[in-house]
Every structure is written in C-alpha cells, then in structure tokens.
C-alpha cells in the first residue's frame, strides 16, 4: 500500500502530537539560544525608550523615525543586519562578504544562527531516533541526539555548504549574468518572471538538497544494520525512489507553516498596546505559537520517515517499529551505533 504525501504528513503530525516532548526540546533549544540576546536587546531598548516621551507612543506601533535614528546613531548595535535581511529579498541577493559589516547584536544573532545549525544536527538525531522508539522520553531524545551527532553534524554542514553553493550559483550568479539581458526585456513583468524562474530554480534546488539530507538522516537511523557508506547511499536512493512523495510532505509542511504565519500576522497580537494583550499574555501567546510551529516541524520529520516506509515492508526495507509488548522490558540504552536492529522487517 502506498501512502500519499498528505497521509504521510498527517501521520507525522499525529506522531508529533503523541510525542510533544520533541517539540518541547526543540523549543527549549531555541529559547536558550535566543536568551543570549534577550539582555542586550532589552537593556538597549529600555535605555532608549523608558524615559523617552516618544517611547510612550510606541507601545504598540513601530516608528519609522526611531528605526532610522537607531540605525544612524547606533551603528554598533546592528551593523548592516537590516540591509542584509532586506537584501535576501532582492533580485540581487546578498553576498557572504557582507557578513563582515555586522556589528553588536546583529553579529551575535548571526553567530547564534551558526550555533543553531550545530545544535540542529544534534536535535535531528534526537528527533529521528526518538520517533522510532515506541516508548521514549526526553532522555531518549538526548541519547539518540548524541549517538547520531558526529554523523549528523557532517550531514548538516555538508548540506549547509550545498545550500550556500546553490544560492551562489543558482541565484546570485544567474542574476549577475542575466542583469543586462533582463534590463533589455520589454516589460517589468517579464523581468519579474525571470526573477521568478531564478527563485523557483533556487527553491527547487534547496528542496532537493533538504529532502536528500533528510532522507539520508532518516535512513541512517532506520538502517543501523547497514555499514555507514551503504546507509548513506540507501538514503540517497530512498529519496530518488520517492521524490514526489517526499516533495509532497515538504510542500504540506511549508503550506502549514505559511498558514500559521498568516494567522499570526492577521491576528497580530503584538499590536494594539495594552488594549489587546498585556505583556505576559503576549509573551505566552508568542511562545505557544513557536511551540505549535515546532510541533509541525517535528511532524514534518516524522512525515519524512513515514514517506520512506513501505507498508507492508519488503525484505531489507525499513518500517516504523511495532509497539513493544506491555511486558517487554524497557530498551537498554545503546552505546554502539551499529547495534542490532530492533524490529527488522
């Protein structure tokens, strides 16, 4: 029986809901990373606004003047982070060399992003490993994360490099090469279409890279019976064997996440000052939103595992483990990545 991508994603979401501690652990990791910036941001803003008459007008609404003044009078706070963020959305894109102009909180934020990538490698090991355990907990998450960490870090850094190369060669360099030709087009509509094609090509490449990486990770966890090189290629083969289903799961995940953001932007709980949400309820609402989004994220990874699983499983394929019998003793922690397969198909 072949499951379609929506069913895979749906089962993945159900699995994520059944193991909410996975989303909790991801949320905690993010919160800890972000916590590094809370004091610098908070102290700076309190210093700037607490006694300012203008600050009282800004409880709910942003002020263009403050934003411009802040960047001009305090270039050491963010550096070129705003330009960098805006540049990501332009037809020209941004160059890695622009990172050199980051300062203060801006530089720290980007450094944290690199740290987040490393921790992400750990978290994915934990997520994939825990998803295969019938009975698991945060302890399982930590154990599985550490077990897979070296390999997953290599995958993650390789993926990061591939994404960087794809961005450079598919988006930046094509933009540079096509610049004069785009200017020579008849209409701006056609120029936008060219940008759209460049963007679509980039997104397709990024999706392919991500799905290959996630497929390798899922297979790496599911097939400990194979030697590492075989596991790697089995993961690649698995992705190539089910590209539409995997892409479908990614698309459902993207749509669901986009929907959540649309709801957030539409509801805009941050606006309206004290009238809509006092500070504490606002922070709680924000964190609930982050948590829900992370549940969906775990659901995506579970969905990828589902999409790679054949039911009934043929020999030498992999399958989600059957529930362990009630009387079965709890699984002993493994120390060896090459341990026996618990539920061979």
């Amino acid at each position: 029986m072949r499951r379609n991508s929506l069913a895979c994603f749906g089962r993945g979401l159900a699995l994520a809901l059944s193991k909410p501690y996975l989303a909790v652990s991801l949320w905690l990791i993010q919160l800890l990373l972000t916590a590094v910036l809370i004091l610098p941001i908070s102290n700076f803003l309190h210093d700037l606004l607490d006694y300012s008459v203008a600050g009282s007008r800004m409880v709910a609404n942003p002020d263009f003047g403050l934003w411009e003044t802040l960047q001009r009078e305090h270039p050491d706070i963010l550096g070129n982070l705003p330009d960098l963020a805006a540049g990501l959305l332009t037809t020209e894109g941004v160059r890695f060399s622009q990172l050199a102009d980051l300062r203060g909180i801006g530089a720290a934020a980007v450094s944290l992003a690199f740290l987040a990538v490393v921790l992400h490698a750990f978290a994915l090991g934990g997520v994939f490993g825990t998803l295969r355990e019938p009975k698991a907990s945060l302890v399982t998450f930590g154990r599985e994360g550490m077990r897979r960490f070296p390999a997953f870090l290599i995958f993650t850094l390789a993926t990061l490099a591939a994404v960087g190369l794809a961005y450079r060669w598919i988006y930046l360099e094509t933009g540079e090469a096509l610049r004069d030709r785009v200017q020579a087009l008849d209409t701006e509509g056609k120029a936008l279409a060219v940008t759209g094609v460049r963007l679509a090509a980039l997104l397709l490449a990024l999706a392919a890279i991500k799905l290959l990486a996630d497929s390798v990770r899922a297979t790496w966890v599911a097939r400990p019976d194979l030697p590492p090189v075989s596991r790697f290629f089995a993961g690649i083969a698995a992705a190539l064997g089910r590209p539409i289903r995997l892409l479908g799961v990614l698309v459902w995940y993207t749509l669901t996440t986009a929907f959540l953001y649309l709801v957030w932007l539409w509801a805009d709980p941050s606006a309206g000052g004290e009238a809509r949400f006092a500070l504490v309820p606002l922070i709680l609402t924000q964190q609930v939103f982050v948590f829900v989004r992370l549940l969906v994220k775990v659901g995506y990874y579970a969905g990828i595992s589902e999409a790679l699983t054949r039911v009934p499983s043929p020999e030498y394929s992999y399958v989600a483990p059957a529930p362990a019998p009630e009387s079965a003793p709890p699984a002993e922690p493994r120390t060896d990545d090459e341990g026996p397969v618990q539920n061979p198909a």
């Binding site: 607490d50 006694y51 300012s52 001009r72 992003a113 936008l192 500070l279």
Partner: protein, 668 residues
C-alpha cells in the same frame, strides 16, 4: 576642433530655411505669444534614423545679447558628447554609475557633431570652433564648444546662427537615449549658453546637474518612422502631424514660447491618455500622459498627482502659465530616463506592483512637475546653486503630497514586488531622512560637482534644503512663508534668481531680517540637536537651618516656609549640536497643566526650575518646528519611566529572532 571627417554642406541654409512657407503660418499656430522677451530662440527640423540611432538636424538659433557688453564669442552646450567615451567629465564624476545606486552606465556611446555653423551672412563659424572645459579643464571633455564671431554682437543686438548637427543617441543612460523602440531625446541639440555681465556661463555636462539656459521660443519639427504616429510627446503644443507622401514617415511639429529647453519622446508602445485641468484662478492645462501598457492601470494615479501638483504649486507660486503638460512613463530598462524635468514635459516612474498606500508614481510626478516652477519659470543656475532647484522643489513636493495624500508608507520590496508595511512615513521629515546621515559632511557653498560625493549632493541639495525651508515655514508661520515664496516667484519669473534673492523675499515678507537663519542652516554644516538632559520632580521640602524670627536667629523655618506645597521640578535642556536656533520648551504636569517657555538656544544649556504640580514630562521643541534636529528621540524626557514600549519591543524582537533561527536551521 571638429573632426576632419565632418562633411561640409552647401551654404545658404539660412535663406532656404527662412523661405519655407510653413513658417508664414507660425503666428497662427499654437501658443505663440511670448510670456517674456526671448533671448535664445530655436527653429529646429530633425530626422530620426531608428536604424543608426541618430538624429540629423538643422537648427536656426536667434540670440539676443541682453548684457551691457558686446559678445565676441558664442558658447554652446554639446551635452551628448558626455557619452562620447569614458574620458568625459560626466563619466569620470559618476565613475560609470547610473543615476540610481547600483546602476551602471551601459557602454553605448553618444555624441553630437556640428556639421555646419554659419551666420546669416553665410560666414562660416566652424573653423573657429574649439572645445573648452571651463569647470575642470578636462581636455577630453567635449560638452562645451566656443566659436569666435567675426564681429562682436553689441548689447541689445540679435544674431542668427544656422547649425547642421548630427546627434548619436546612447542607450538610455543618465536621462537621454533609446531603449528598443523607446526614445527619450533630451540634451540633444547644440544649445547656446547664458551670457552674463561677467561673461559666458556655460558649464560642462556634470554627473548631477545639467540645466541653465536663457528663455526663448521653440519651433521644432521631427521626422520619424510612421509607426510612431500618435505616439510622440514633446515640449509645448503639437501644431502639426502629417504623414509623408511616401507614407513611411510621420512629421510632427511642436511650438512653445518662453521656455529654455526642448525635449521630446517617442515610443510605439505608449498608451496615450488625455486629461484637462481646470481650477478657478489658475490657468487651464491640457495634460497628456504617455504611459506604458503595463502601467496603464496607474494612469489615473499619474493624472491625479498632476492635478494635485498644478493646484498645489499654482496656489502658492502663481499659475502654471503654459497650455500643456506632458507626462512620460519610461519603459522597463529605461528607468534612468525617468524622474526628470523639461519644459512642459516631465518623466515619471511607475513600478509593476504599486500599492496605493505607497506614493509611487505620485511622488515623482508631483516632484517633476514642481520643477516647472523651480528650474522652469524660476530658472536658477542648477550647476552653481542646485538647492534652489531641487531643494526648494522638494520642500514644495512634500507640502503638496502631504496635503493631497497624507503620509506615505514604508514598503518592502520582495524580489521586485512592493508590499506596504503599514508604517507611516511623514512628510517632510521621514521623506528626507537621508540628510541626517550626512548632516555635517557638506555645506551649500560650491557648485554641484564639488560635493564630496553623489550621496552628499543629493542629501544636501534635496533633503537638507527641504528640511531647512520646512523649519523656516514653521518659524515664520505658513502664511508668511507663502507670502515670501510668492514674492520670490513673482519677482523672478522668467529670470535667473539666486539664493540672496530668496532671502530678500523672506525678509520683505516677514518684515525683518532672517539672514541669520540662512547663515546657520544653509551655509553651515553645523548639526542641530536639542535634548532634554534632565527632568526631575521632587516634593518641595521645608528648608532647614537658621532663620530670622522677630529679629533673632532661630533654628527652623518661619511658618510661611515650614509647610511648602507642591513639587519642585527641574528640567535641563541642552544644545548638543553646534547650530543654535530658538526653541520652545513644554513642561507637562499632573492634572493636565502645562507650562511653555522659549529659549534662544544660544548657550549650551539652560535649566528651568518650577514649583507646582508634579512634573510628568518635558519636551524641547514640542511642536516639532525644528525639523533639522538630527535626533528627535532625545527631545522629550519623562520623570517616571515607562518600560512598556521597551518590554513589548523586546518580546517582539526575541520572538522574531526565535523564528529567524528556526528558519535558518530548517533548510539544512
């Protein structure tokens, strides 16, 4: 000197041209009555060759010496030669960059060659022609030429010069040229400079300024391929359209009196939209919009902006006196032709996605129309005092836009599509914030090419001047400012005013001398920044110590001092910038009471001590009159801190950092 390859044409052109029968009908066609005595008038016939991208033209210049001294030479602008090669002054100053950041001048060359130049008696002036570079001595720059006259032109005397020329147009770069079938033909013909008492004022073509000419009457015929029929726009009024007998060409003729330049455009893709402006007390104007098909849905926005500008500028500066206004919407890839002004013709700029809350194309339309006054009617020298043109116009643009549309909005450009962010950008401060980035780098003391860089030129000429004038308006009050502007406009219409003339108009309108204001703002790079450094309020206490009671010194205050009421509030206001301007200070107390005082701002600081209700906050410049203040966020201070804004923005920042981290990690 002229190239040796230049072919010589037959003499007698002058006589032939005069004999053309159509000229006899000139008086009956179009707007013919000059609004000012002409100094430099032109009759031009030209032919566009779309294969070679050239214009072959014949020109009859009728020039009158209005100075008291005889003229021994004539100087001409040959501005298309700025695109001749990379050694021109324009190319060097711009370093090959286009008008907008990140754009490059395409390597497509342009030039204008004078093939023949004779006086009415057929005296050949061409052998005396020499290229000069009065601004920078660049011997490779060919944008100014001088010819020596066989006999000086006496004061009040008129001379006619017949010129054959060939203009080669570059691909649109820095305002002029072609892009596909689109043509923006500006700065295209040999144009005489301005003779002043001190001599010729004829500057080279620079990166950031190009306009200074005398008024005259223009009569221009253009011969184009027939596919351009109905798709041509130009300075002035169209008085003729006819298809050639062969049927493959179309000839247009436009006339306009009392202008100082002539520009034209053609594009078979134009959608032509007509409108008419009528408002009591102002001159009726026929508006023609030549818009690209992909921007046709924005035609009404263009036209509404034009009507708002005709009304807004006309009410303050006097009616726009011409019968026509043509608005050109350049196509994609020709943006460098957009946002420009020529007599009765302006170029706008629209984008594919144009949210209504973002003032594009409205802003550029209002601004370029405004140049019909500042540059057009008040023909100041853009080279030497660029702010009289761009800055004054930016100030008026902000006023018209604010009145007609309210605040602009911040937009986010996502892969070329614009999306409004719902954040207000107020005129004039937010529209001119680029000045604050360079506020102490430059002053208005030199010609346009002497600013430290293009950023500084733009910030000073446009934004600094606009903010200085807006500040002046708030100090003078709007009616007085309007009186000053009207006085300036009426006195100097069809002339070449200087900044001293505007200052004189301000002084006359205000009834006192405001020269000090210009010294401290226009002609100084000093920064303006006032701040409330301290705002405290403590309950008044009875004084301690020895006091006289019934002739004796006793410890403890007398009864009238023993129970003080209210609070003692202390406010310290400082002048952090070097520039001193008078400011007001507002103290707001509990119970809604306020106290307002003024400070001349000369000292570095001043302190206000008030006893009464408890102080809530103190604000310097509470009515936001001093728009040149580089940091408005230190202008007010509360006694009690209000951490709500900082707390909420911290939570929002942290929330989005969380999301950003997740976004960055999810990809790998």
């Amino acid at each position: 000197m002229v190239s040796a390859k230049t072919p010589r044409r037959r003499p007698g052109f002058f006589d032939i041209l005069l004999a053309v029968p159509m000229l006899t009908a000139v008086a009956a066609l179009g707007q013919t009555s000059p609004l000012t005595p002409p100094i430099a008038s032109y009759e031009i016939s030209c032919r566009l060759d779309t294969d070679r991208r050239t214009i072959e033209g014949t020109e009859l210049l009728t020039w009158t010496n209005r100075t008291s001294r005889p003229a021994e030479t004539l100087q001409f602008h040959l501005y298309l030669n700025a695109f001749r090669n990379q050694l021109s002054t324009l190319w060097k100053e711009s370093r090959g960059e286009g008008r907008r950041r990140g754009e490059r001048i395409p390597e497509s060359w342009g030039s204008v060659e004078i093939l023949r130049m004779t006086l009415q008696d057929n005296t050949d002036l061409l052998p005396t022609l020499a290229y000069i570079a009065p601004d920078d001595g660049n011997r490779e720059d060919r944008t100014v030429a001088e010819v020596r006259l066989p006999r000086p032109v006496a004061s009040g005397q008129t001379v006619s010069v017949a010129i054959d020329f060939r203009s080669r147009l570059p691909r649109v770069s820095r305002r002029t040229g072609w892009k596909g079938p689109f043509y923006m033909v500006v700065q295209w013909f040999p144009k005489v400079g301005v003779l002043e008492e001190a001599g010729w004022n004829c500057h080279q073509f620079h990166a950031w300024s190009e306009f200074f000419s005398d008024f005259g009457d223009y009569d221009v015929s253009m011969d184009l391929p027939v596919r351009y029929r109905g798709k041509v726009g130009a300075t002035g009024k169209q008085v003729e359209e006819r298809v050639s007998t062969s049927g493959d060409r179309v000839i247009y003729r436009f006339r306009q009196a009392s202008v100082h330049d002539f520009a034209w455009t053609a594009d078979p893709g134009y959608v032509v939209v007509k409108d008419h402006f009528h408002e009591a007390g102002l001159h009726d104007v026929d508006i023609t919009l030549l818009v690209q098909p992909e921007h046709a849905s924005q035609a009404e926005r263009y036209l509404r902006a034009a009507r708002a500008a005709l009304s807004g500028y006309g009410r303050v500066l006097g009616a726009y006196p011409y019968d026509t206004l043509t608005i050109v919407d350049p196509p994609w890839g020709a943006r460098q032709a957009g946002g420009m002004e020529y007599p009765t013709l302006i170029t706008g700029g629209a984008s594919y996605s144009a949210p209504r809350s973002v003032h594009t194309p409205e802003g550029v339309t209002v601004h370029e129309f405004g140049h019909q006054f500042f540059y057009g009617l008040l023909a100041s020298n853009e080279f030497e005092e660029p702010y009289l043109d761009e800055g004054f116009n930016t100030y008026m643009t902000d006023r018209v836009l604010a009145a007609a549309y309210g605040p602009n909005h911040v937009n986010l450009s996502i892969f070329g599509l614009k999306f409004p962010l719902g954040i207000d950008m107020h005129y004039p401060v937010d529209a001119n914030r680029r000045f604050f980035e360079v506020s102490t780098r430059d002053i208005h003391a030199g010609p346009s090419w002497k600013y430290i860089d293009s950023r500084s030129y733009a910030a000073m000429s446009y934004s600094h001047t606009a903010l200085a004038l807006a500040t002046l308006e708030r100090l003078l009050t709007t009616p007085v400012m309007d009186r000053a502007l009207r006085l300036y406009a009426d006195r100097w219409r069809f002339r070449h005013p200087k900044i001293a003339d505007f200052i004189a108009a301000v002084n006359d309108a205000a009834g006192k001398d405001w020269t000090w204001y210009f010294d401290r703002t226009f002609f100084s790079s000093n920064e303006v920044d006032y701040a409330v450094e301290e705002a405290t309020s403590v309950r008044a206490k009875a004084p301690k110590g020895l006091f006289e009671k019934e002739g004796k010194l006793e410890e403890g205050p007398p009864p009238d001092l023993a129970r003080p009421r209210g609070w003692t509030s202390v406010v310290t206001v400082t002048r952090r910038g070097a520039a001193a301007l008078p400011v007001e200070v507002l103290l707001r107390f509990e119970g809604g009471k306020t106290w307002r005082g003024s400070w001349d701002g000369e000292a570095r600081w001043t302190r206000f001590t008030v006893t009464g209700p408890r102080l809530v906050e103190a604000v310097v410049d509470p009515d936001e009159k001093i728009l040149l203040d580089t940091d408005r966020f230190n202008n007010g201070r509360r006694v009690e801190k209000d951490p709500r804004a900082a707390a909420r923005w911290t939570s929002r920042s942290v929330f989005w950092v969380q999301n950003l981290l997740d976004f960055l990690t999810v990809a790998w």
